[in-house]
């Protein structure tokens, strides 16, 4: 008893504990609760154990959505990372109006809400009145994201790249700016080429921020929902039914709370696993280097 009285320190972490409990622990446990029960209505629930997990893991439509999701995230990273670094390298290096204007313009897409982005691009790519859609169609190429899965993908990729490459640019730019001028001088004195400077100085020195960019971009693109939802609602067919779209269809569309709960937990674990893998790989590659 006496010991408990000395532990007033607990009071200090109590507010944080309450916030975390309401924002994370309780919702998560609710999902866990759903995932192991079959719910018919209020007060009508049956314990089903791991049945929903088994069902979800063997659901062919989930497998399709997962592969689609992986392909999408892979493509996004393949385009956004090099593009972001390349643009950051061409930005003005000196402090002044030029670099400020550049930064503001580049950061602009990041300030626009997700659903607005979807709407902008729907209009932009419409075959009849959209600037891009009408232009392509007038050249004699049929382009319609509501009819062709490929076209929906192209539109989504464009949207994603336009929206999120700026984040990679900003992070890469910050990384580049933190390299002391003396490194570049030393490289010039050594007679290093621009490629050698990039490979042996800029890239290793940017590793820290690029790791963060990669993780953020992977997580965000893996959880993509608003853009395909606004654009085609997962269609045409199931062409853009990514994991989150499929999950919402089960949870809200079909109101299958049990399978949706199991799905959510599996989804969460997949993201966690991939992030852990990326992090470990990048940590090992950069071992012993200063960031």
């Amino acid at each position: 008893m006496k010991k408990w009285q000395d532990n007033k320190g607990w009071l200090f972490i109590l507010p944080v504990f309450i916030i975390v409990a309401f924002s994370a622990i309780i919702p998560l446990m609710t999902v866990v609760n759903y995932s192991i029960q079959d719910i018919f209505g209020p007060g009508q629930r049956i314990f089903v154990g791991t049945e929903w997990f088994k069902e979800t893991l063997t659901d062919p439509r989930l497998h399709e959505a997962l592969w689609r999701q992986l392909l999408f995230s892979g493509l996004v990273l393949l385009i956004e990372m090099p593009l972001g670094i390349a643009i950051a390298l061409t930005m003005p290096t000196k402090k002044g109006l030029g670099s400020s204007v550049c930064l503001v313009l580049i950061a602009l897409p990041l300030l626009i809400p997700w659903n607005v982005i979807g709407t902008i691009w729907i209009i932009f790519t419409r075959p009849d009145i959209g600037l891009m859609g009408a232009f392509i169609n007038n050249m004699g190429i049929t382009f319609d994201h509501t009819a062709s899965g490929l076209h929906a993908w192209i539109t989504l990729m464009l949207m994603e790249v336009w929206h999120w490459t700026p984040l990679v640019i900003l992070l890469a730019y910050a990384g580049l700016r933190s390299i002391p001028e003396a490194y570049y001088q030393a490289a010039r004195i050594d007679g290093a080429s621009a490629w050698a400077i990039f490979k042996y100085i800029q890239l290793p020195k940017m590793r820290g921020v690029l790791t963060i960019a990669l993780l953020l971009r992977f997580m965000d693109s893996f959880l993509i929902y608003a853009e395909p939802f606004v654009l085609t609602g997962g269609g045409p067919g199931n062409a853009t039914t990514f994991l989150s779209i499929y999950l919402v269809k089960i949870a809200v569309g079909q109101f299958d709370l049990g399978p949706a709960g199991a799905f959510s937990l599996i989804y969460f674990l997949i993201v966690l696993l991939f992030c852990y893998l990326f992090y470990q790989v990048l940590l090992n590659v950069g071992k012993g280097e200063s960031s």
Binding site: P180, A182, Q185, R188, D190, G191, Y200, G288, E289
Partner: protein, 367 residues
């Protein structure tokens, strides 16, 4: 043969960074550029390296005009204040990098890396990454890389400033020995007179973008051409007093009048500046010819095995440097002894008129 700078000027956006600098640095010589921060040392080094072009003037390297030639095509090696190494290379690869670029056979590279690593005590850590090393070791790697290059010009821009005192002393000693063996032009910048004196060789004293004085370091130390140089080349700075000479009687400060003989007596009557180095002020009489002044201690600091006592004489901030520990209480009265034989006499405009004879200077033994 060597590096010649001919009337080099550098303006940046209308602002003068370097003014009319002419230098002649011989191959195999050690040259120390001494000056305060922003004196233009780094700007000058950058121009020597070819990283920047002078606004006007000419740079000649081993008889060839290299003014407009890019740094990539010159044989230059440089070491910086910051520890600059390739972050993704091991120590071995870092040291080897200058030779790898020029396509030297592998066996030769290995041999030379081992040789240089031994010189800088890096043999044990050749497989490590730069970030795993201490600051001193990182800088050794950077110096090793610079030494690997068979350059005509080796530039070091305050290389020891980010290291702790002990390491600085150690590396400085090693560097002096290494530089002596090389036949390229070595240029080393520093803000510290003690570093310049330890490195020896020649000195270029700079202030506000101009060269104040050049010459062999000990000679410049003994005969600083101006008050400016005398102050820059003494740490703590030389003590200065205004003085009036009138018919063989020198009045120092407010009230100390003394009869002078020798070269000082031969000067015309008038106003002068008298300089005396802190280590020529004593707490105990040294010589029957000593004059004494009374003062009150303002600060007394002990640095290693040396004592610095700050006091004011006739309003002039004065420092006394005594070897050994002899702390005095703040506010206590002291008697300070000095010998007119150790006086530097400067004209009113700052030009040196008389420097103390070598026999009286203690640096004679140490320099």
């Amino acid at each position: 043969m060597g590096l010649i700078l001919d009337q080099v000027n550098k303006y940046v956006e209308g602002e003068m960074h370097l003014a009319d600098i002419s230098l002649d640095l011989a191959s195999g010589s050690r040259n120390v550029i001494l000056g305060r921060t922003l004196a233009g040392k780094t700007s000058l080094l950058r121009i020597m390296a070819g990283l920047d072009r002078p606004s006007t003037g000419k740079i000649v390297m081993d008889g060839r005009d290299v003014t407009g030639i890019s740094v990539r095509k010159r044989q230059v090696a440089m070491v910086y204040q910051q520890f600059i190494n390739y972050p993704s290379f091991t120590v071995f690869q870092n040291i080897a990098s200058p030779l790898q670029i020029s396509g030297v056979p592998k066996a030769t590279i290995k041999e030379k890396v081992m040789e240089t690593a031994k010189l800088l005590h890096l043999e044990e850590m050749l497989d490590r990454m730069p970030a795993e090393l201490s600051g001193g070791q990182q800088q050794r790697v950077a110096i090793a890389r610079a030494l690997m290059k068979d350059s005509q010009l080796l530039l070091l821009d305050e290389p020891l400033v980010n290291l702790d005192y002990k390491l600085r002393e150690e590396l400085l000693e090693e560097l002096t020995a290494i530089f002596k063996k090389r036949d390229c032009v070595v240029v080393y910048t520093t803000t510290e007179p003690s570093e310049a004196l330890k490195l020896g060789g020649n000195i270029v004293v700079m202030d506000k973008g101009r060269v104040c004085q050049t010459g062999p370091t000990t000679q410049v130390y003994r005969n600083p051409a101006t008050v400016e140089t005398a102050q820059l080349l003494s740490d703590p700075p030389i003590n200065l007093f205004a003085a009036v000479l009138n018919d063989g009687r020198l009045t120092l400060g407010d009230d100390l009048a003394l009869a002078v003989a020798g070269p000082i007596a031969a000067l015309a009557s008038g106003r002068y500046h008298i300089g005396i180095r802190p280590n020529h002020l004593y707490l105990h009489p040294q010589d029957p010819g000593d004059i004494k002044i009374h003062a009150t201690v303002e600060i007394s600091e002990i640095n290693g095995s040396e004592t610095f006592i700050h006091f004011r004489y006739s309003g002039y901030k004065t420092v006394l440097h005594e070897v050994g520990i002899d702390a005095r209480k703040i506010g206590s009265d002291i008697t300070v002894y000095m010998n007119p034989g150790n006086f530097f006499v400067f004209a009113e405009n700052g030009d040196l008129l008389i420097s103390p004879g070598p026999a009286k200077t203690a640096e004679n033994q140490t320099a």
